[in-house]
């Protein structure tokens, strides 16, 4: 019996004009937003995380606080970290080794064109492989810097990929001028998907200090812990050490010790904010859509008054008329849901494609079967709820009046 109402409702929907479908806009935009958002959640997470440069889950980052301006990490701080700080942190129990890095902006010339980028040092040391692992530097073309490579540099992937600034790709073997000194490019780093990291010049610490005329300053210290379980403990110890070294009280630190967890938490907060925003927009959209359905169903009841009269004349009970319009309204919502889910997945697919090609990652499209079924059921429900009042009005029609 209920099948009959669906058949009838489908027949009626098939003959609906474009006006009815336009009122569904709200429903399908809302559904589309939610489905796209959820199917993209892994992708967004990866994209945001990569911008924070979280590479290694066992690395604690220490930076000086009290920023007086904008710039690369460590720039403009009033009381910078020093080489000695790095050496002291290196000795903290739980810390495997600590690397102090100098980071600065630089002017680079190549092919008679100039660009402004960041450069960062890698420390001297005998275990360069560990250092590269810790700072997450991998080579796409050419090779890593070796000890004694004092006039050599490794460039970020953008110097190779993006030809806008310099007019052509920079390749291993090319010569570049950095702050008026000549360097040879030995390697191109793997793509990171982060604007800063992909535009970074990496060189040995000594030539970088020479270039800057810096002696002792360190902009960021990366401390590799022995194992992830030691992370919290090591963080506390480093904080204690740094408070002592810089002579500050608890709560008045002029430095910052951050763990990858904290960064990831921040990523989740940002993602949560984005999600909440989209869910709010989607909810408003769905409410608008529901009102649209109420509107189109009310109009439909008025337009089909005579039809209602005829159905009553040939024996339809009030409840049967109600069910007829109620089902139709639910199906209207369901159609909105189907369109929304389809477009949402499509947007998700395109979004994941964009993220993957930009980051060089292989993030999957999150298709949650229950989400889709739930969304469709929800759309049907919203449609039917919107149809209750119009359907009641239809059922209440007096047959004599309706047939007049």
């Amino acid at each position: 019996m209920i099948g009959d109402y669906f058949t009838l409702a489908l027949k009626n929907l098939k003959h609906r004009g474009i006006r009815s479908w336009l009122t569904l806009l709200g429903i399908f935009i809302g559904v589309m937003a939610v489905v796209a958002l959820i199917s993209l959640s892994s992708g967004l997470k990866t994209a945001i995380t990569s911008q924070f440069g979280v590479e290694n889950m066992e690395v604690i980052t220490i930076q000086a606080g009290g920023l007086s301006g904008y710039g690369p990490p460590g720039s403009g701080v009033t009381e910078p970290l020093t080489k000695e700080d790095a050496e002291a942190i290196d000795k903290v129990s739980g810390v495997d080794f600590a690397i102090g890095r100098v980071i600065s902006s630089a002017r680079i010339e190549f092919n008679k064109k100039t660009g402004f980028v960041y450069m960062a040092s890698i420390p001297e040391g005998n275990n360069l492989k560990n250092i590269y692992d810790t700072i997450g530097l991998e080579i796409e073309y050419g090779r890593h810097l070796k000890e004694g490579d004092l006039t050599k540099v490794v460039l970020g992937y953008n110097f190779y990929e993006n030809t806008e600034t310099f007019g052509k790709r920079i390749l291993p073997g090319d010569k570049v001028t950095i702050n008026d000194q000549n360097f040879e490019v030995v390697g191109i780093a793997k793509k990171k998907g982060s604007f800063i990291l992909d535009n970074m010049i990496t060189m040995q610490e000594d030539p970088l200090r020479d270039l800057l005329g810096e002696d002792d300053r360190v902009d960021v210290i990366a401390a590799k812990v022995r194992s992830p379980e030691l992370m919290d403990r090591a963080k506390e110890d480093i904080e204690k050490l740094m408070r002592r070294r810089r002579d500050v009280e608890v709560g008045k630190e002029n430095f910052e010790v951050s763990t990858p967890e904290a960064t990831l938490e921040m990523v989740n907060t940002i993602l949560g904010g984005v999600q909440a925003f989209i869910v709010i927009i989607a909810s408003i959209s769905i409410v608008v859509g529901a009102i649209g359905i109420v509107n189109t169903m009310t109009t439909s009841v008025l337009e089909r008054r005579r039809e209602i009269g005829v159905m009553k004349a040939v024996g339809a009970k009030n409840s049967q008329i109600f069910l007829q319009f109620f089902t139709e309204s639910g199906l209207l919502g369901l159609v909105g849901g189907i369109v929304g889910v389809t477009l949402g997945l499509l947007i998700g697919q395109v979004g994941v494609g964009v993220i993957n090609s930009f980051l060089g990652s292989e993030v999957p499209l999150d298709i949650n079967f229950f989400l889709i079924i739930g969304t469709l059921a929800g759309s049907f429900l919203i449609g039917s709820i919107s149809g209750i009042v119009p359907a009641m009005n239809a059922a209440k029609q007096n047959p004599v009046e309706a047939l007049r």
């Binding site: 019996m1 009269g309 005829v310 159905m311 009553k312 004349a313 040939v314 024996g315 409840s319 004599v400």
Partner: protein, 242 residues
């Protein structure tokens, strides 16, 4: 042989409130329709014949008086109960056909059976049978707007027969048709009458009423003016307003 009383109106009146005044659309109507009769309800516009048809067809309930359908008092029934009884016992044919535009001819015929809860296979079979009867088998999948006026009215006749009703109530069934197609429709009604169906024809056309009906109720200004009955080729007054 005593014939079964199918519809009986006893001192029935229908009043409408219009602003502050009350309009007496129908007053003091006595009417008895027997099984198998061909009855006409005759009257010019404004005579109350539409109101009378609504009451006879149980589309409406009276302000005063009692209506019996098949010996059951239906004047105080709830609308939904009325709908069920109406769907089973009375088949309607309207002047403007009143087919559902989004349904094909066959689906229109099936509709009254759906409201009675018949199985889909039974509905299909019966609809085919009835469309065959009105000679529209080849048009069963057409939509109303693909059919001519005469064809539409024949679909409406088939629909009126869907639940095997005892009474066919035809309200000006030829009003929107040309003389020739109108004739075909009336011939169908006549054929149904010969098969034993009770036919009630509501019309403003006295010639039409006298050509087909056996008993004619003449309405004027909301009251029953006279009742005439056919004896052979002539009609005799069997009741007259005092």
């Amino acid at each position: 042989m005593e014939r079964k009383e199918l519809i009986k109106l006893k001192e029935v009146a229908k009043f409408y409130r219009m602003g502050d005044s009350v309009v007496k659309a129908l007053n003091n109507i006595q009417l008895k329709i027997y099984e198998g009769e061909f009855v006409a309800i005759m009257g010019p516009s404004g005579s109350g014949k539409s109101t009378c048809m609504n009451l006879v067809g149980s589309l409406d309930t009276p302000t005063k008086g009692v209506i019996y359908l098949d010996n059951q008092d239906i004047s105080t029934l709830h609308e939904s109960d009325l709908a069920q009884i109406r769907g089973r016992k009375i088949g309607f044919i309207f002047q403007s056909f009143n087919l559902i535009p989004n349904l094909t001819a066959k689906e229109n015929v099936m509709l009254p059976m759906m409201f009675q809860g018949s199985s889909i296979s039974k509905r299909e079979r019966k609809a085919r049978e009835l469309l065959d009867l009105v000679e529209l088998t080849d048009r069963q999948h057409h939509y109303p707007n693909q059919l001519s006026g005469g064809q539409r009215q024949r679909v409406a006749i088939a629909r009126s027969l869907a639940n095997d009703p005892e009474v066919i109530l035809a309200d000006e069934p030829t009003g929107n048709l040309d003389t020739k197609t109108g004739q075909i429709v009336l011939d169908f009604l006549e054929k149904l009458h010969k098969q034993g169906k009770t036919i009630i024809l509501v019309t403003h056309d006295p010639d039409l009423a006298q050509e087909y009906a056996e008993v004619i109720y003449w309405l004027k200004d909301g009251e029953l003016e006279k009742v005439t009955k056919r004896y052979g080729k002539e009609f005799r007054v069997i009741h007259k307003k005092k």
